[in-house]
């Protein structure tokens, strides 16, 4: 990302609520440390743009969207933790357009679950690719959220 965006002058990072925001916070912190770059960033909530409203068992609770700038003609990097079906990213792109027409949009994820996509969405930057089954769940734990240490787990979904 640093190679592609030079000094990040015209680039903004958007963390997808709720969990992408935690990844973004980490990236902002690391960029400060290694590059001494202060990035422009915000948090995007796509709850009202999701395509599974009224189709899932329980409605999702919305989170705060905090974007105090327009993304018109900016390069946008969307940041999320786990890329699975690609539906969240589609909803996020839909939600993002309310803040202007971006020049270019890229996707950064911590974990890319291979071969699970419902939509043609691929990450530009990816922490790690993993092979998983439908029956498995990938969870990301953060020390800042009260977990013992930063960790990523692949677990079997509990069968009811």
């Amino acid at each position: 990302m640093i190679e592609n965006h030079d000094d990040f002058n015209n680039t903004v990072l958007l963390g997808l609520q709720p969990r992408g925001a935690l990844v973004l916070d980490k990236i902002i912190q690391r960029m400060q440390e290694i590059q001494h770059i202060t990035l422009k960033y915000g948090y995007l909530d796509a709850t009202f743009h999701r395509d599974d409203f009224r189709r899932r068992d329980l409605p999702l609770r919305a989170n705060e969207t905090k974007i105090d700038f327009l993304i018109e003609n900016k390069k946008v990097v969307l940041v999320d933790d786990v890329l699975y079906k690609g539906r969240s990213v589609r909803a996020a792109m839909d939600a993002m357009i309310a803040f202007g027409r971006p020049q270019k949009v890229e996707l950064m994820v911590l974990i890319d679950r291979k071969f699970t996509r419902d939509f043609p969405v691929q990450p530009d930057y990816c922490g790690r690719q993993v092979n998983t089954l439908e029956s498995q769940y990938v969870s990301v734990e953060w020390q800042s959220r009260g977990f013992e240490k930063d960790a990523i787990w692949i677990t079997e979904k509990e069968s009811n």
Partner: protein, 307 residues
């Protein structure tokens, strides 16, 4: 991951405090959206909503319609004045005919108390009560409490005086239920003829002197004198009412504190509220209107999400 405990919004009485909290939190998100350049989300794009108004309305109808459109719902409007109701069609026939055209939600205002409750027992669509006679007006109470929360930080522990025509007001009853559920203290104030006889049984304080009421409260919610519902004279003249119960700048200056003034609209200027108060920094009347759209978006969105 939460949802409302009810499929219909018939009255505040049926809501739990956590329902109200969920509506407020969702309305916060929608208020944020309403302040963006593009004020629209696609959540209800596959839903059709009928606004059925058997009674006149400007604010509520516009507010609901805007809320529906901001959520991308399809909207049909119906006003009884220009409809077959005039030809003698019954309420349930009218609504069933509208539902036969595949409508998912009905927002209804009716002059008979309990009309939306009756409908909810007979039809499948989600029903939102936009005011039924002198009974309840839940979205107004929600937006009033939401505005208090926004202005004063919290509703719990606040003292709210509802002043004016309590007898004919659906806003008063819904407000009492809503504020009490959120932990506020409520007082009603007005001429004895305009206070229901057993209102104190609801756990509210009763006061006949408007100055004492203002001195007691943090928030004064001033109601309109509903002349259209008064078949007999409840007070000698409007002039006398405004002399004893009208709120003006002079009266507020005599208080030893600042209070917030609210009004659900439409205002009878110079009767229950003087222009020098209605247009002052004490009044949050226009904020109430703004919050109304966000609250109604939250209610429609959450009801649509109930399985």
């Amino acid at each position: 991951m939460e949802q409302l405990s009810t499929r219909h919004l018939l009255g505040i009485k049926d809501l739990s405090p956590s329902d109200i909290q969920l509506i407020f939190d969702t309305a916060d998100n929608f208020k944020d959206i309403l302040n963006r350049p593009i004020k629209k989300v696609p959540s209800l794009r596959d839903i059709t909503i009928a606004n059925i108004f058997f009674e006149n309305s400007t604010r509520t109808k516009l507010s609901f319609e805007l809320a529906e459109k901001r959520l991308s719902a399809d909207v049909v409007n119906f006003a009884s004045a220009s409809s077959s109701v005039k030809k003698g069609e019954t309420l349930i026939d009218t609504v069933n005919n509208i539902l036969a055209m595949k409508v998912d939600m009905v927002v209804m205002r009716h002059s008979s108390p309990g009309a939306p409750h009756f409908l909810s027992k007979h039809i499948k669509a989600n029903i939102v009560n936009a005011g039924d006679g002198t009974h309840e007006h839940p979205t107004q109470a929600l937006l009033d409490a939401f505005s208090i929360r926004e202005k004063l930080g919290d509703v719990a522990g606040k003292k709210v005086a509802i002043i004016g025509d309590i007898l004919h007001s659906r806003v008063a009853l819904s407000n009492i239920f809503c504020l009490q559920k959120l932990g506020a203290e409520v007082m009603v104030c007005g001429p004895i003829t305009l206070l229901p006889k057993y209102i104190a049984d609801l756990g509210v304080k009763v006061e006949y002197d408007v100055f004492k009421a203002l001195q007691w409260c943090d928030v004064a919610n001033v109601l309109r004198i509903q002349l259209e519902r008064q078949q007999i004279k409840y007070f000698p003249s409007l002039r006398e009412y405004s002399l004893y119960y009208g709120i003006n700048k002079q009266l507020l200056n005599r208080l030893d504190k600042e209070i917030v003034v609210m009004h659900p609209g439409p205002i009878n200027r110079g009767v229950e509220l003087n222009s020098d108060v209605a247009d002052s920094e004490h009044a949050i009347i226009l904020q109430q209107v703004e919050n109304g759209v966000a609250i109604r978006m939250a209610v429609l969105y959450l009801l649509a999400g109930v399985k």
